[in-house]
Amino acid sequence: MRHIISVLLENEPGALSRVVGLFSQRGYNIESLNVAPTEDATLSRLTLTTEGDDQKIEQITKHLNRLIEVVKLVDLTEGAHIERELMMLKVRATGAQRAEIKRCTDIFRGQIIDVGPNVYTIQVAGAADKLDAFIESIGDAAILEVVRSGVSGIARGEKVLTL
């Protein structure tokens, strides 16, 4: 099963390499990863998605917790949560295609954020499967470039991951 693990990490040089190193060292996979400082400049929030059965995920979270620079972590998939990912696509948009792509973008509540004579640059945000669906609906032929931020997540309700 896919899990979204969110980590509060000391914002120090080398901390990220320990997290990434742990995954390669112990043969775990990272499917997506994003990291940025939080409102507290001494802390980074890192979110990663990985696949594994319960035993494997338990080992992953235990080993992450063992890293000295990991302050706290949560497996968001254990509870109700919201997941978002930002995607930017550059697509070929000429002739009748232009209107079609615009309609499709509206359906997915995306925005065209840059326009050229032959291309659109589109921004879409949502859960990872929604972004996959958007790519599918646009079709491989039109797509010139895809940039995805990796998944971010946050728990629903009053639950927070904080110090």
Binding site: P13, S17, G21, Q25, H63, R66, I68, V71, L163
Partner: protein, 584 residues
Amino acid sequence: MEMLSGGQMVARALEDEGVEFIFGYPGGAVLHIYDALFQSCKVPHILVRHEQAATHAADGYARATGKPGVVLVTSGPGATNAITGIATAYMDSIPMVVLSGQVPSHLIGSDAFQETDMVGISRPIVKHSYLVKRTEDIPAIIKEAFYLAATGRPGPVVVDLPKDLTNPIDKYEYVYPETVKMRSYTPALRGHSGQIKKAIQLLLGAKRPVIYSGGGVILGNGSELLTELARELNYPVTNTLMGLGAYPATDRQFLGMLGMHGFYEANHAMHNSDVILAIGARFDDRVTNTISKFCPSAKIIHVDIDPASISKTVTADIPIVGPVNAVLKEMLTQIRATRTSQGADAGPDEEAIGRWWTQIDAWRASHGLWTAPRYDTETGLIKPQQVIESLYRATKGDAYVTSDVGQHQMFAAQFYKFDKPRRWINSGGLGTMGFGLPAAMGVKLAFPDDDVACVTGEGSIQMNIQELSTCSQYSVPIKIINLNNGYLGMVKQWQDMNYSSRYSESVYEDSLPDFVKLAEAYGHVGIKVDRLEDLDAAMDEAFRLKDKLVFLDVYVDRHEHVYPMQIAPDGSMRDMWLSKTERT
């Protein structure tokens, strides 16, 4: 307020930390530090002959004393040479602080002379590491390094020090912190009472219990409490290779070591048990044999300071995270309270335990290594087992024994009956050849009045033999017991058993040095033993020469194997070869 340079801060911090020895080797990037050591440091420095030996010596010191070992090496090759020793310490959870020099800050990343990314290269084999960025951070970082190395599950910590930060010109205020507080690091101080209560119920109701204890009991200073608990319950105890000495070997309740070369009675007791109390042990593959066949009817209570060790390979029925001594103490308290309030009904079931002991004693009598010689005593050759037995007699079972890795290590583990913790010093997890001699150096420096023996083989000893020179410089009179069979014995054993005796690169032919002359060349005493009738006298002589390093070169049966040996792959714990021809 005192103003010190970075180099002086390092020297002073080691003093303030109460360090007894620094094991190291100088070089360009640490010259400022070495100059500060020369000018003012009260901590003696031991100049090894290779950085790997510095880490093993510090490691041996740490295992014997319980205090962190300290290593100081230069950048580049100095740092990479230390890697094997750091990995050795990491695998066995040994507290160690490694200070490595680094090229000046402005050259980092430029492929400068003797530059290597020490923090990067050591990352998977350290508990934590630091690349120091500012001179004024040095005292706090060194304090943290010692704190991290020694608390929780111990381990090595690397502090990488760029050369410019230790220069003698720039001075900063020096304050050595009294305490450390880290928001991201809070090791458990006690076990969960509710879990311990459940564990006690399971334990007291057991009919075929085994206490399986590992190196964590030694690291956590839990030996006395473990012994008390086992005696309170009259339950059998087996120790892992790393745990030998945690429970007195000469005690009736001790089953010997378990695992790949474990005792028949220990492996059978484990396999047939209904409740296992695993404490400070990690269900290593050298213990469990095939996981799917591991102890089919056992419920498992697992006590460990590191949550990541629990249910890693074998799922625990009752996990308890906490320091072994605190958990053992509460277990004892709860057991006594239960027995006081409930009387005989509380358990243990004495009748069942009695039957269990009858069964164990039968296993012991039929195949135990200590109830009768299980090796051929009629060959006229010196058997390696006999050398360890001779060593045991000569030292009255009270020596510190280090070992290298291979057959000799297993023979030492099987035949030297360790009654005390921290006496058996070996590389269990990483299996590092070349560990024994430098480790013995570290132990002997810490305990100059005690007997320290290094049990080794002609293969392993040559991996760090240069340390005979260090022993000469600092007068470290250890005793080296070399089980010389002219082969890489354990490799040969596997080749005998699995590769139709094709000895691919495991034979030395006539290339071995004359170890007696070699020892003498370094100013030591060498004794060659090639007749069984000379063995005991030579062993006694070696230990009678208190102030001399003695190299005892013993020519043993070249074709002896270590038994029992678990059958792999696909075997359970109790499936073992008992000799070259006999199996369970």
